[in-house]
């Protein structure tokens, strides 16, 4: 029994399951407690010890079936099957001695002889190969060729065995011969099924998370302007999720930190009221950093593609922080805080882009916008405020009024400028970003989702 389990464990290991010695020992101990002859119990015990996460369960089942069903000789008659196993071994030995030059031939013959390790190892290599190699263009030719090689080896082994069985010089009775043929056939089928097997993520839940993250990765590096409508929708959902996740983690963290250790000083002070008896216990508490955010978002034609995204960001931020004032502008400032507060995200963005009091035919003018802000909203900026400006800084050669931005900076904690344009073309043509840059604490390029996500993470955490 120990030997059998050991063999199975080493099979599992080459196929990619991680099984420690301790787990093998546990399993052997546990097998003594159950009826080993009851297959359900036997399998459950093995599975409980060897497949330790949802994802491994499927692979375990496959290996289990392979090892304990396909690779075993029919146990109906123990003596006869032992004899059969012996004959199989002899035959495969003969086949193995044949001259050949392909290492996979050995693996296949071993497999037929009841030792699947080498073949499993090779299959694992093929399946995981594409994960490791980074090729300029991805194609599945390499793994395919490897598979074809194995298939050919299986075919040649089949032929060799068939020939051997035909050989009359072999000392085997005709009934045993047909039995052997049957067994070999089964094992060849098993080998082929392994060849065709593609690993699938087992559980639906894990699969979905993966797919979603994968998609985020694929779309992450693409500029906003190249998204299709549907992808836009998807990304928006993704960002929304992300912001919510961040928000949750922040709130939880504060919730924990909120109540800290015992504050001895305060406790003693309050105890003075009761003649030194500490009736009230005071704990240290960590106040929430109440930050306010003011955002100015350019929604003109030059940043059109990014604007939708940025509005989305604004919306999410508003959900995340308790005090957010949002403005959009082209040649004049429009306060959209209320729109975002009252409407659901899609409607809000649609409203801003179509119905809000914004002159979409005007030419962008940062100067007027800043002047307007100075006139009407300067008191929004306090020492706790983070000012986020989203735009390409292309002001159609009008006066940039960068001095006003300087004044704004003096009033608030941080000024961050997000520019959807790639850094190489900053400051070309009518771009005033270099002028504004000196007044900002931070100017960063934000042209695709990954950059946006990086920004949100830094902002929130």
């Amino acid at each position: 029994m120990v030997k059998l389990i050991q063999q199975f464990v080493s099979c599992c290991r080459v196929a990619g399951l991680r099984i420690s010695t301790a787990e093998t020992l546990d399993c052997l101990n546990q097998l003594q407690l159950i009826e080993v002859t009851n297959e359900l119990q036997f399998r459950s015990a093995l599975r409980a010890n060897f497949a330790k996460s949802m994802r491994e369960v499927n692979q375990f089942d496959r290996l289990y079936y392979l090892f304990f069903h396909e690779m075993r000789v029919d146990p109906a008659d123990v003596l006869q099957s032992a004899a059969l196993a012996e004959q199989i071994r002899q035959l495969t030995d003969i086949v193995k001695k044949k001259p050949h030059d392909n290492p996979m031939f050995d693996a296949v013959v071993d497999f037929i002889a009841g030792n699947p390790q080498a073949l499993l190892k090779e299959m694992r290599r093929i399946q995981t190969a594409s994960d490791f190699e980074v090729q300029p263009t991805r194609f599945n030719f390499g793994p395919l060729a490897d598979r074809v090689n194995i298939l050919m080896q299986i075919t040649s082994t089949t032929a060799a065995i068939a020939q051997l069985l035909q050989d009359s010089s072999l000392d085997v009775s005709s009934s045993a011969r047909s039995d052997l043929a049957l067994h070999f056939n089964e094992r060849f089928n098993a080998a082929r099924s392994i060849l065709l097997y593609e690993p699938r993520p087992g559980d639906e839940n894990t699969k979905k998370v993966k797919a979603y993250e994968q998609r985020l990765k694929d779309l992450g590096e693409r500029p906003f302007s190249s998204f299709t409508l549907q992808e836009l929708e998807e990304m928006r959902e993704a960002i929304d999720k992300l912001v919510r996740k961040l928000k949750n983690s922040v709130s939880r963290r504060f919730a924990v930190k909120h109540r800290g250790n015992l504050d001895v000083k305060k406790t003693i002070r309050s105890a003075a009221r009761y003649g030194g008896v500490p009736v009230e216990i005071k704990y240290r508490s960590k106040p929430l950093r109440r930050s306010r955010i003011v955002t100015l978002c350019d929604v003109s034609g030059s940043v059109w593609a990014a604007a939708r995204f940025m509005l989305n960001l604004l919306y999410s931020l508003q959900e995340c922080f308790d005090k957010v004032n949002s403005f959009v502008f082209i040649d004049d400032l429009t306060d959209v805080t209320a729109v975002f507060e009252e409407n659901e995200i899609n409607e809000a963005i649609k409203f801003v882009l179509e119905e809000a009091d914004v002159n979409y035919n005007a030419a962008t003018d940062y100067g007027v916008t800043l002047r307007h802000f100075e006139r009407d909203y300067m008191d929004l900026l306090t020492k706790k405020t983070t000012l986020i400006i989203v735009g390409d800084g292309r002001s159609n050669y009008m006066h940039p009024e960068d001095a006003i931005l300087g004044k704004m900076r003096d009033r608030c904690r941080r000024v961050i400028w997000l520019n959807p344009e790639p850094e190489q073309i900053w400051g070309t043509g009518d771009s005033e970003i270099r002028t504004y840059m000196q007044h900002c604490h931070e100017v960063r390029q934000c042209g695709n989702v990954n950059q946006l996500i990086a920004f949100i993470e830094e902002l929130v955490l």
Binding site: S44, R47, A48, K52, S53, M54, P278
Partner: protein, 301 residues
């Protein structure tokens, strides 16, 4: 009261109102026999928490439950010093303390005297036991359920290791406390994140999937006794088909039961497309899922 064999587990869990698959009862038996914790995984609503409750019932043990969440710390999970009580006691025994130090010559000597009494203040009396400490210091063995352990922080997981492998915890002021009786520990996980290998190694793993048709039917009959045989069968079949659709959240057993319950309350005896469509909000938790099911309603019946 311990389980005697796999079949014994099966029988007693059924008696406690839980219908286990063969695999569940085998794993539960093995875990009980080897005193190892069980790590239960599976989609939400397949009865992971219910299993713990049923085990507690069948073993006639108390169930101590610790709901894990991000930010859960030792003070919430293991123990906490009762500062208020300590301070109050200090105040009340002030005179005694004065007595103790009244004959001392120097300050150092006074401190030494007080230090001799330290044990009085850091003792059992002032410890507030949280679920984990309760579980191992209970005289009678208990069933300890760590629910949604994947939601807790990695630090908490590391600290669970000591508890799960040796059934002991270390309280710096008091020393190491060994379990008086070994509890039956279950950890449930929704695969929110992967548990560490070290933790997995210490546990017996159990994956609970959606049940077989027969098992599910049995569960419906057990939990909703008033339901008609025919309706139950149709209902289970419909649910099983809905699970085949690519939904955001597939309905699990708890949804099946909720559905059966609401059909019963509405006194509906037959499952028609209209009925499904109207009661869909019991099964599907997302708008998108509902629409998908409505679109494929012909496949379901």
């Amino acid at each position: 009261m311990d389980f005697k064999s796999v079949n014994d587990v099966q029988m007693r869990l059924e008696k406690a109102g839980y219908i286990p698959s063969k695999e569940i009862s085998t794993v539960v038996f093995l875990a009980a026999a080897t005193q190892k914790p069980v790590l239960v995984e599976g989609p939400a609503g397949v009865g992971k928490t219910e299993l713990a409750k049923a085990i507690a019932r069948s073993l006639d043990r108390e169930l101590i439950r610790l709901q894990c969440y991000e930010g859960l710390d030792e003070a919430k999970a293991l123990y906490e010093w009762e500062y208020a009580k300590q301070l109050l006691y200090t105040q009340m025994v002030k005179d005694r303390i004065n007595d103790i130090i009244s004959h001392t010559a120097t300050l150092a000597e006074a401190v030494d005297r007080i230090a001799d009494q330290e044990d009085a203040f850091f003792s059992e009396r002032f410890i507030q036991a949280r679920p984990l400490l309760q579980a191992i210091s209970s005289a009678k063995p208990v069933v300890l359920l760590l629910d949604e352990v994947d939601k807790s922080d990695p630090e908490f997981e590391a600290f669970l290791l000591e508890l799960l492998s040796d059934f002991q915890v270390t309280i710096p002021e008091l020393g190491t406390r060994k379990a008086i009786s070994i509890p039956f520990v279950l950890l449930t996980s929704n695969n929110y994140r992967d548990m560490s290998d070290a933790l997995k190694r210490r546990c017996v793993h159990l994956y609970i999937d959606y049940p077989q048709r027969e098992t599910e039917l049995q569960i419906v009959r057990l939990k909703i006794p008033g339901i008609e045989e025919k309706l139950a069968a149709v209902l289970v079949d419909a649910i099983r088909r809905i699970r085949l659709l690519d939904l955001k959240k597939s309905p699990s057993i708890s949804e099946t039961l909720d559905w059966a319950q609401s059909l019963l309350a509405l006194q509906i005896n037959e499952l028609t497309p209209e009925v499904i469509s109207e009661t869909l909000n019991v099964i599907c938790k997302y708008q998108i899922d509902m629409e998908k099911v409505r679109k494929n309603i012909s496949k379901i019946i």
